[in-house]
């Protein structure tokens, strides 16, 4: 891992029983870099993302995030590390249906000791940036797909992460909404300098990234 690397994975493998889903993969992402991981469905992209984001432990290999080896960390240490350094955006938004837009954004802050007003202020500010300032009290069920994903992006940003992991963030959106979401991600990367690792199976979307990593059958092709 070089000094500018925010994330590096070395010789990563993941086996489920006899099935090896990720095979000896090594990759590194620089701070502020926008990397797209592309490949067909089932090629191991999401598993690789889970490994390098600390959501899952590899069967073999090491992961360093912001200079810290996370492969040997306990589950709770990983959770705390994710809370302080990482943001996630999922294809199906994964918003909590009972919480309003601002509460969903503030979800990572709930276990942190801070006033409710401070949480709300931070969440509202981010929702404003996502042009959802008028929807802060709405429940996810009252939001469109694009709005839900923008809430999810705001949630990924609320802890000022060094890197955002996005797993097919436009997969559940129509093409124009998808483009808008990509626009936000690009803007974030350019203006805020947040590193992004995005998994997608659409080559078209991947073109906007700084770098493209292709995967096939659990291995990196290029």
């Amino acid at each position: 891992m070089t000094k500018s690397n925010i994330l590096s994975g070395t010789d990563l493998s993941k086996k489920y029983g006899d099935l090896e889903v990720v095979k000896n993969v090594s990759l590194a992402i620089d701070a502020g870099e926008f990397v797209c991981l592309v490949g067909k469905s089932g090629c191991g992209k999401t598993t690789l993302l889970s490994l390098i984001s600390g959501l899952e432990k590899p069967s073999k290999g090491r992961v360093s995030l912001d200079g810290r080896e996370i492969t040997t960390s306990s589950e709770d240490e990983l959770a705390l590390f994710r809370r302080d350094n990482v943001g996630f955006i999922f294809q199906s938004f994964n918003l909590i249906p009972t919480l309003s837009a601002w509460e969903n954004v503030a979800l990572p802050l709930f276990p942190i000791k801070m006033t409710s007003e401070e949480r709300r202020r931070r969440a509202t500010e981010l929702l404003g940036k996502m042009e959802l300032g008028h929807r802060i009290e709405h429940l996810p069920s009252a939001l469109s797909g694009g709005e839900k994903q923008r809430v999810a992006i705001a949630r990924a940003l609320v802890n000022n992460p060094k890197i955002i992991f996005a797993d097919e963030p436009t997969g559940n959106l129509d093409s124009s909404t998808g483009e808008a979401i990509m626009g936000i991600l690009n803007k974030l990367h350019k203006e805020e300098g947040v590193a992004i690792l995005m998994v997608t199976h659409e080559d078209e979307l991947a073109k906007t990234a700084n770098r493209l990593i292709r995967m096939k059958d659990g291995e990196i092709m290029s």
Binding site: T46, T47, L55, L80, F90, T98, E103, L107, F110
Partner: protein, 416 residues
Amino acid sequence: MNLRYMMKELYYQKRRTLMSILGLSIGIALLIVLNSLSLAYRQAAHVPLKEIGADITVQRSGDVPKELAGPVFPCSAVTIRKEEVEKIQKLSGVRGMGTGLLLWVFDPNRAWIVLGIEKENSIGPSLLRSSVTEGRFLEDGKPEALVEQAYARQFGIRLNDTISVADKRFPVVGFVDASRAAKIAVANVYLPLKDAEDMAASSKELQSVSPYAPGDVNLLFIKADQEKITGLASEMKGILGNKATVATPDSFLKLLGSLFALSDKFTLAASLIAIIVAVLIAFKTMAGNIAERAREIGVLKAVGWTNRNVVSQLMSESVIQCFMAGILGLLIALMASFGLSFMKVNIPIPWEMSPTPHFLPGGGDQIFKTLQLPVHVPWSLAFFAILLSIIIGGMTGGLLGRHISKIKPSEVLRHD
């Protein structure tokens, strides 16, 4: 634990939350009502003895003379010797004692049930002082009589009349209504103990079957330490032999015959069953709710919630649900107890404790003490029920939370 999140989750799953609260509250209510009823029966069983200022009454059964003439002892209350009384008085746990001498007096033209009573004692029939309806209570050193009001009415006895009992004359100085008080050792005429003793001592018929000397009695009323009553009862039987009849609140409880009265074990078992069923209902509903939230838990963990954060959140939801169930259960129980407190209970008084010759009118009738069942929810029980519901909530939430918190976010968040 986030309060806002917790309340929103409970509100979002309104139906499930209500089901869970209702299920557990019924169990809690049953627990409270069953125990309150059991307690009420226990308290009711104390009433007949309490009304005579005692916790234990002691008699000894024996024979009646072949010929019923003059003063005799009823077969259920023959001589208890002075030495035996002293032994009983010295038993550890005995806090006080009252005595009485119950006689059947068969005069040529009338039969009397006579009770010789002490004039000053807060234990035993001297409590009749508060049941005088007309005239006054007996005074020291005077051979006077109190007559039971109903008996006086039946036989036309008036205040200041003189009645002749066993050839001795007594002015009637007052009427008493013993029917409103204790149903134990009820007589037609109440005389000073000394006069009753003289009657018993001079009765050949009585002496022929149950030797008697002044100072002996045939009724003992004992005030005792509550926790020692059972032990004292068996010690007294040891002193007086196998013909002793020792009545305690427990013996009245057995006479009540109710399931609640019969056994603490029944109440305990029924309460446990109620609680177990309620806990299972609550557990099943909460387990269903938590299982449905696996994806949500995965999100929480992905965004940085530790296992402990997840468990404490789920536990707080469960605790608040169960706490509400506890409060609702308590309210239901209070209403049920209020309703049940209008219930009347008839406590049978054994014939032996208030013997009337069978050949006299009403002599064979069963006597009952009727009272409203004193059902109420003690604070300690209410507190215990609420505490129990909180513990159930904590354990349920803790167990389910620990189980679900082990979920790996990557397993549930893989895109559909």
